[in-house]
Symmetry: C2
Subunit: 407 residues, 2 copies
Amino acid sequence: MKNLLVAQSGGPTSAINATLAGVVENALSSPSVDRIYGSINGIQGVLTENLIDLKTKLTNVSELDLLCQTPASALGSCRVKLKDPAVCADEYETIISVLRKYNIDCFIYIGGNDSMDTVDKLSKYLNAKGITDITVVGAPKTIDNDLCGTDHCPGFGSAAKYIGTTFAELERDCHVYATKAVTIVEVMGRDAGWLTAASCLARANGAKGPDFIYLCEVPFSIDTFLKDVKAKLEKQDAVIIAVSEGVKNKDGRYISEEVQSSAVDSFGHSYIAGAAKVLEDAVRNEIGCKVRSIELNLMQRCAAHLASATDIQESRMLGKTACQYALEGATGMMAAVIRTSDKPYATEFKALPVCDIANAIKSVPADYINDAGNDVTEKMVDYLTPLIQGEMNTVYENGIPKYIYLY
Amino acid sequence: MKNLLVAQSGGPTSAINATLAGVVENALSSPSVDRIYGSINGIQGVLTENLIDLKTKLTNVSELDLLCQTPASALGSCRVKLKDPAVCADEYETIISVLRKYNIDCFIYIGGNDSMDTVDKLSKYLNAKGITDITVVGAPKTIDNDLCGTDHCPGFGSAAKYIGTTFAELERDCHVYATKAVTIVEVMGRDAGWLTAASCLARANGAKGPDFIYLCEVPFSIDTFLKDVKAKLEKQDAVIIAVSEGVKNKDGRYISEEVQSSAVDSFGHSYIAGAAKVLEDAVRNEIGCKVRSIELNLMQRCAAHLASATDIQESRMLGKTACQYALEGATGMMAAVIRTSDKPYATEFKALPVCDIANAIKSVPADYINDAGNDVTEKMVDYLTPLIQGEMNTVYENGIPKYIYLY
């Protein structure tokens, strides 16, 4: 019989708990699994021996379903990155002692880049120490969609569906007045523009969608941006723009750094605005029409009520698969989604070496972006569309979605 | 046979099109109605003779249902307030000439305070001119919920459901890390705190919900706010706060004016921050922990995918009722919702003189706010809860909600 440990790490998503549900579901149904532990606050909970017994918390399918509609990491999260074991092995030894104390055979870590780095380092450390009876496996997660190897990351589809829907709603809202007005919407993504690109999905049912889409992969010029906006305002009243929070100028500096270095608040502290706020000021000062900036902020990663059914189902399957890999001893591997067809959409799961994935970033390819650098191409639409299909039958109680609490 | 004209005005909501659907539904089924016109961009469309034939656009129930799930004013909107007819009667005469040209017998105006002012002024002007064969009737609409007479305003329930759900999701998101962090969420409402109060609905299913709720009805002190937050941070890691955009200090000045008069951006223009941004800076400077501000912005008024079924059904019924009043000649009246019972929730509709409603604001009563001025009471919960019940079976196509376009 094997004992299992599962933990979640990095920024929350609407689908990370579906992956947890998949891990537990597979473990519950496996005759070779005895105890299922959850670590509170990711690897931090392992280091501090803060573990809970998940078999007492998740006993049936309806609780697992409720877990799938609960946003953010139900086991808590952390931003811990393990040190290089050659410099400091203390953390690794602590982790091993806790795993040994609870007789853990399999550790499944659900997370993004830093979490995959943890899976990589820990599995290598165990290997170097000749410890072969503990497997460490990664399950991907990040709304940023910037992990290599996997076609896409669990959580991204739901965030993309939220972004597409929200841009469709904002377009309706912004087009009601017969006056010139610019709305600039800032979308998460410092190093990869996938989320911002998802704003194009607002066009799915015949709407114009955002008028411009600026991804952080393309060097951003405020002058070109203002020319784009001015030209569009000559043709129509409302102009709506999607912009990555991470847009940088040709020198690689964030737009907010480029423009706002001299701004100070009333306390005398320099004011760090977001990209949309900076562009709002630029439109107000250089064009002079009504202008508003909007940050989708945390809502884009926690709006579980608008999750993509495709994303939640895949995330749950990926959790099951990661659990299976761990039970089969595939240490140092990450469960990945491989797309085998766009139309009809078809995928399969595969174990990839996590060392090929950790610490690399998958940017938007150049041919997914138009030549002017202010919109996406059909390739992007074809890539995104399958990921947002389907709606969850969210259970509401008292008018508000119902959640499960694990600790 | 009568000809009907309907228009929408003021800020968009998720329910204003349900009221339009109700008006058209009643008109389509009434044997005494011939033509149904829609004015584009509210009263502005009447002044410029920009009318469309709604019978060709809305021919069956499925189109009316689609209209009910389409956010924002499908006929467009405006912010026009008619001048005092004693000073300038030109606009009134133009309106009458257009109404006469199209043989309009009934004009139904869906909107908030300014729109009810238009209904009031226009009906009085017609009356003073001895014109008795044109009726002007108002149908309420505003997410701010600040119209007098009516128990609540169509659109408010859906915004409240969005706000309650979003705070529930944000709470899950913010509680995942074991580090001290403050999240300040700014909610719409300059003169009435109803929307901000709706954040308490996040507690409906056992969650803690926001730790503090500051409404614009209570004089706001940054010192007291910082004391509240410090005390709470000693007990828990994540602190979440709801604040009305319109909070003012004891002298009646907006918090942003009080604090940020000296802040300038890099162009040298004084920077006008929102309430949450100002409080974010205060927490950063005075407490020093991790802090983030979030504006729910336009999303809280256009998130039709999360509309309250109670709100949409009532809004549609209210449109039907307003149409009926207009056909019966009840000029200068507004269709209102009267609550006859909290538990079980029961309402009836009533025609109220619009002159008693226009230009007055319904604030949150003192006994709906706790003594410390940083939360709401059970009375508020009892008032709000029925308004967010039920979910719409939103029709999605290609992963995104489907809308109808009238022009």
